[in-house]
């Protein structure tokens, strides 16, 4: 047992910690990740402003499970599996909308499976099975079936969090103190989404979270070198690690006008210094990133060992005037829009990693060994993530096939 634990705890503080690239390429490990991580933890999904009115819905997928998020007639947001209990068809097919609009095969205010017109109310209860008595006699009634409801909470800046695990600990326990650094900015007043786009990249999801968890890659971004790395305070930014694999990065004052054509930010968030910059990285695949006037939230949907969908949201304050919102959007787009300076570079980075780390490619060591007293170019963020990954997977990231080897022996 001691030997096994030694091999799981790859970040021993000695020499150069590394991960084996098979954690990014192996199909078996990916399937285990879905079961041991993605189906067990709380996942940040959409923002509540995407469901502003009763009976508004959004659909998404977590660990291959299709899900409906629905604001009920009581204004509470609930999560259901988007699967008809009859023959397993997808019930809601649109990405977003309102149940107040009737579907061709169903009534308004209900979720209707178009296949055989089984209807469900906003609480997931089955309210109509066509010709139920004729087909099922008394063997099955509408009261016997319902949509599967999932644990769901709205928290941390108004995001809708769900888990596929019915017996998961509460969200507050999973997050712990990780949002303390950003609590005032997120929870003083309501936020609203102004930007959404997504990317599907041929690379492993953890490589994107790695990018969000280390700042050494600022060498890739001229914008960040000019406005941050060359400015006072950059190398003082501190990482703080929290239980369950989360970590945060402390603020600095960014000098936006050091980049030609960019301007210092006029707007901010409650409690956020103007031109400040804070981050919260959440295990296993979400990041909150506030830079000056805009909050960017990345959420990921792993699609395979070598494919990930990343969704990008930009948010400001709900009370923003149209002019204020337009300013936040301009600031956001400068670096983070699909035509922005930084995001394109970041995505090229993990695309390149995806080329060198394809399923079946030669295993190699990926170094996680920078130690700089937990400051900005320290790779503590990645090491902390993989320590949690090891705990949940029972595998060492630097020797991930260890269990299989033991079995073979």
């Amino acid at each position: 047992m001691t030997a096994q634990m030694d091999r799981v705890a790859y970040d021993s503080g000695e020499s150069i910690p590394y991960v084996d690239s098979r954690i990014y390429t192996d199909h078996g490990i990916f399937e285990e990740e879905l079961d041991n991580i993605w189906k067990k933890v709380w996942i940040a999904t959409v923002h509540e402003s995407e469901l502003p009115a009763p009976l508004d819905f959004r659909t998404l997928t977590v660990a291959r499970e299709p899900i409906i998020l629905l604001r009920g007639s009581d204004s509470k947001v609930r999560a259901f599996l988007n699967v008809c209990p009859h023959r397993g068809n997808l019930i809601i097919r649109q990405p977003a909308g309102s149940l107040t609009v009737a579907e061709p095969s169903g009534n308004a205010n209900r979720m209707t499976c178009m296949f055989h017109a089984w209807q469900f109310d906003c609480f997931g209860r089955c309210v109509d099975i066509p010709r139920a008595k004729a087909g099922y006699q008394d063997r099955l009634k509408k009261e016997d079936v319902a949509l599967t409801e999932l644990p769901c909470e709205v928290a941390h800046g108004g995001f809708v969090w769900i888990t596929l695990s019915a017996d998961a600990a509460p969200l507050s326990e999973y997050i712990g103190q990780a949002f303390d650094i950003m609590k005032e900015e997120l929870d003083t007043e309501p936020l609203a989404v102004f930007h959404y786009h997504k990317a599907i990249i041929s690379s492993n999801y953890k490589l994107w979270h790695d990018t969000n968890s280390e700042f050494y890659h600022d060498y890739m971004h001229y914008f960040n070198r000019a406005t941050s790395m060359l400015q006072k305070g950059y190398f003082d930014r501190q990482y703080t690690a929290f239980p369950n694999g989360h970590c945060t990065v402390g603020s600095m004052e960014v000098k936006y006008d050091a980049y030609q054509g960019a301007a210092d930010r006029v707007l901010s968030f409650p409690g956020m210094p103007r031109n400040g910059w804070k981050m919260v990285d959440l295990f296993p695949g979400a990041t909150y990133n506030i830079r000056g006037s805009s909050l960017r939230v990345d959420t990921m949907t792993p699609l395979g060992p070598d494919k990930v969908m990343i969704e990008f949201r930009g948010l400001g304050l709900k009370r923003d005037t149209p002019d204020e919102q337009a300013q936040r959007i301009r600031d956001h787009n400068t670096i983070w829009g699909p035509f922005g300076r930084n995001l394109h570079e970041d995505l090229l980075g993990i695309t390149g990693q995806g080329v060198t780390m394809r399923p079946g490619s030669t295993p190699r060591r990926i170094l996680h060994g920078r130690r700089e007293n937990n400051t900005i170019h320290d790779e503590i963020g990645m090491r902390h993530f993989y320590t949690e990954w090891a705990r949940r997977m029972g595998r060492s990231p630097s020797n991930p096939l260890y269990r299989a080897q033991i079995a073979a022996e």
Binding site: S49, E50, R58, Q94, P95, A96, G97, V193, F194, H195, Y196, H197, K198, A199, I200, I201, S202, M220, Y222, F223, Y259, Q260, G261, R313, A326, I329, R330, N333, G337, P338, F339, G340, R341, L343, H344, E345, L347, L348, T351, V355
Partner: protein, 169 residues
Amino acid sequence: MNIMAQAELKSVERAIADVIYRACLLLDEQKFMEWLDLCAPEFSYRITTYSPEIRRQMTWYEQDVPGLKGMIEMLPKHNTDHGQLTRHVTVYTVDVARSQTEATAISSFACYRTMLDGINSHMDSGETQLFLIGRYHDRFSIGEQGPRFLHRNVVLDTRRLDKGSHYPI
């Protein structure tokens, strides 16, 4: 409208279409400063799209002429996908104001990317992929030197851009 007036209107419409096509060739060849020469000093440029996911109209890029020039000048300092973007455009409508000093036009476009170094250049360079589709909504001023772009709104249908781009569309 008499025959002379009709001929004059057709001539203006042809000139509008011509400047749209010239702009595409210049953008394809990455002659961005020459593209801006086709624009009035007060030209503004936007890339927009509607998201059915968040049910909002979104602006993904917005610049005036100084902003575009700055963006262009800074391109060499940035890592980027060097694939060639090629625009295929059809001008659908040209509407010239009665005064013949302003016009609007709507064009449909498809933008292809012929890959170079975006993924794995050994295998992918030379392959052409559809990058995005949409419409140009253009507004022009018409002076003695012909039509000049006053405003371009690139209205995208494509919303999943994956790696994205550093270039105007």
